[in-house]
């Protein structure tokens, strides 16, 4: 698909082609291909097995392995109907949305403002304060849970959505500020200064000049935070009341209590995984960009 772009620059084409040919000669040895295929199989077959299982009739799941569907195919959606009817799976699916949406929006907004100040307002102690925020990424959230919980209990807010949102916001902030600051620094200074000279206040510069340029960066962090909050178990276990549990927590509990009822557990697991998978596959580009900005560039 990227062939078209290569044609425009003939010299590069030959080089890239040369390298493509070279990489072929060094890698299309049968051993290399076999290793690659083996890794790919190892990374996909377990998921495929559970996916197939989630669509097999309960009696079959109990008696035979999922690989037998290739000789004896029989499928049903009953497991999904059943698991959504069981206890609190459907409720928790919506709880996950209710927890995740504010827990993504709020830290982004707070982090954008903080990153703006760090990047574009000169004030004394700026570097020290930025180092402070950066350093707090070191703190594993385990260290904070019990004192935070007792504080929430004191306020009479424990077990509510409010403390779950607040906790996710706090835990997401250091990385958010750091990532957005990195992206913001790359915007040319002249652009900001031109707007300032024209008499625009910080708020106007922020909303009219910076925000449109930052959409990809915001998307990157938003996906991170979305996946992190949706997939979180620890914060949910500690801070969410049972009736506000997100789906990960419910599925983790079912994993113990369903024991051998794999037909239900398989379907439940995929209900919990479908949303992050869709988000991830449709926005993969932004996710990778964020990963590289945070993971390599620092």
């Amino acid at each position: 698909m990227s062939l078209d772009t290569r044609v425009e620059t003939p010299r590069k084409l030959t080089r890239k082609e040369q390298r493509a040919v070279d990489s072929k000669t060094r890698l299309s040895s049968p051993a290399a291909s076999i290793i690659a295929v083996l890794i790919a199989i190892f990374w996909t077959v377990p998921t495929a097995g559970l996916l197939i299982t989630s669509f097999r009739p309960a009696a079959d799941v109990r008696r035979t392995g999922w690989w037998t569907v290739f000789v004896d195919p029989e499928f049903t959606t009953k497991n999904y109907v059943d698991v959504l009817g069981t206890s609190n799976v459907a409720d928790s699916f919506f709880n996950s949305f209710i927890i995740t949406i504010p827990a993504v929006l709020i830290p982004i907004m707070l982090a954008l403002l903080a990153a703006y100040a760090f990047a574009w307002i000169d004030f004394r102690g700026r570097n020290a304060l930025f180092a402070f925020v950066f350093a707090l990424q070191v703190v594993p959230i385990q260290v904070t849970l019990i004192p935070l919980l007792s504080q929430y209990v004191q306020w009479g807010l424990d077990g509510t959505f409010w403390t779950v949102w607040l906790s996710h916001t706090i835990f997401g902030l250091p990385l958010a500020i750091f990532l957005l600051h990195n992206f913001m620094k790359e915007i040319p200074r002249s652009l900001i200064e031109a707007a300032r000279v024209d008499g625009a206040g910080h708020v106007r510069v922020f909303f009219q000049v910076l925000l449109p340029l930052l959409v990809p960066a915001i998307a990157s962090f938003a996906i991170f935070q979305f996946l992190w909050v949706w997939n979180d178990l620890l914060v949910a276990l500690v801070f969410a009341g049972p009736e506000y549990s997100p789906i990960t927590r419910v599925i983790a509990t079912l994993s113990g209590s369903f024991g051998s009822r794999w037909y239900l557990l398989a379907a439940g697991a995929f209900v919990s995984m479908v949303v992050p998978m869709v988000v991830f596959l449709s926005l993969q580009r932004y996710f990778v960009r964020g990963l590289l900005a945070g993971g390599v560039k620092g």
Binding site: P46, V138, I146, L265, V296, G298
Partner: protein, 326 residues
Amino acid sequence: MLWLLKPETLPEKFAVMILAILLFALVMGLVLAVVDRPKLPKWVPVAGYLGPAVLLITFGLLWPGMLTIKNSFFSRTGADFVGLENYVRIFTDETFVTVIINTLLWVAFVPTIATALGLVYAVLVDRTRVEKFAKTLIFLPMAISMVGASIIWKFVYEYKPASQPQIGLMNQVMVWLGLEPQQWLLNPPLNTFMLIMVMIWIQAGFAMTVLSAAIKAIPDEIIEAAKVDGVTGMKLFWWVTVPSVRPAIVVVLTTIAMGTLKAFDVVYTMTGGNFNTSIIANEFYIQSFNQGQPQIGAALAVILFVMIAPIIIYNVRQMRISEGER
């Protein structure tokens, strides 16, 4: 007003959510409107922009972190100073020693194997026709929760007695090979390695993505020069590719090491820490919230912190060095 704290029906829950977002927008709007008035001293806008974030971080990370460090030196009720007693117990009690050994096994094997596999795979699929698809396959486990991944693998490890047909793939493979099916998650020390495998499966995609980008950034000239000198195949990999992406490898190793130390979901979901599989992150949860031993939990959290901090510092210094090289 009770429904604001304890909404019961779905519409109530969504209403509370929308209200929370609107409330937040309103407060932030007010703050911005105040600090944007002209001719205010400079610290006012700075406080307006940084204040909320810095306050939250101080309240939610710094302060509770310091309290936990303090609590780790106190008795269960927090009334009596006990010095290092909690730590002494962790490092002498047999159960806790197992937990620490397991944690060290995790942090030794997960980053190294995940990074090695990610690197090999990135090199193998680099510039092939199926590259994008092949990478998505390895990457996908990163999108799903560790809970989901744990259930996927728990099913792979599922055990039935030899007399019955197997439903877990791993034991079916054993049967096909003419071996006895195993209780993969029950027998130490094998079960810890079975859990480690799951974490490797989750983390390899991250390693592959970052290293793949690093490989693509190797200048063509270096590769060509090596080729002219007759360096190909495995030699090219060891003497050109690996040294060229060394800074990225360090970053990946350290990032995965930190993730591994903090993650408790896999152990919690697959074994609950039973059968000698617990690690510090999981034991912290059990001691704090199930066993009613928050002082031990606090000490475990501090140990976790002490293990993670040097890795982050090293990570940051490496990033500085690699940025300086560029």
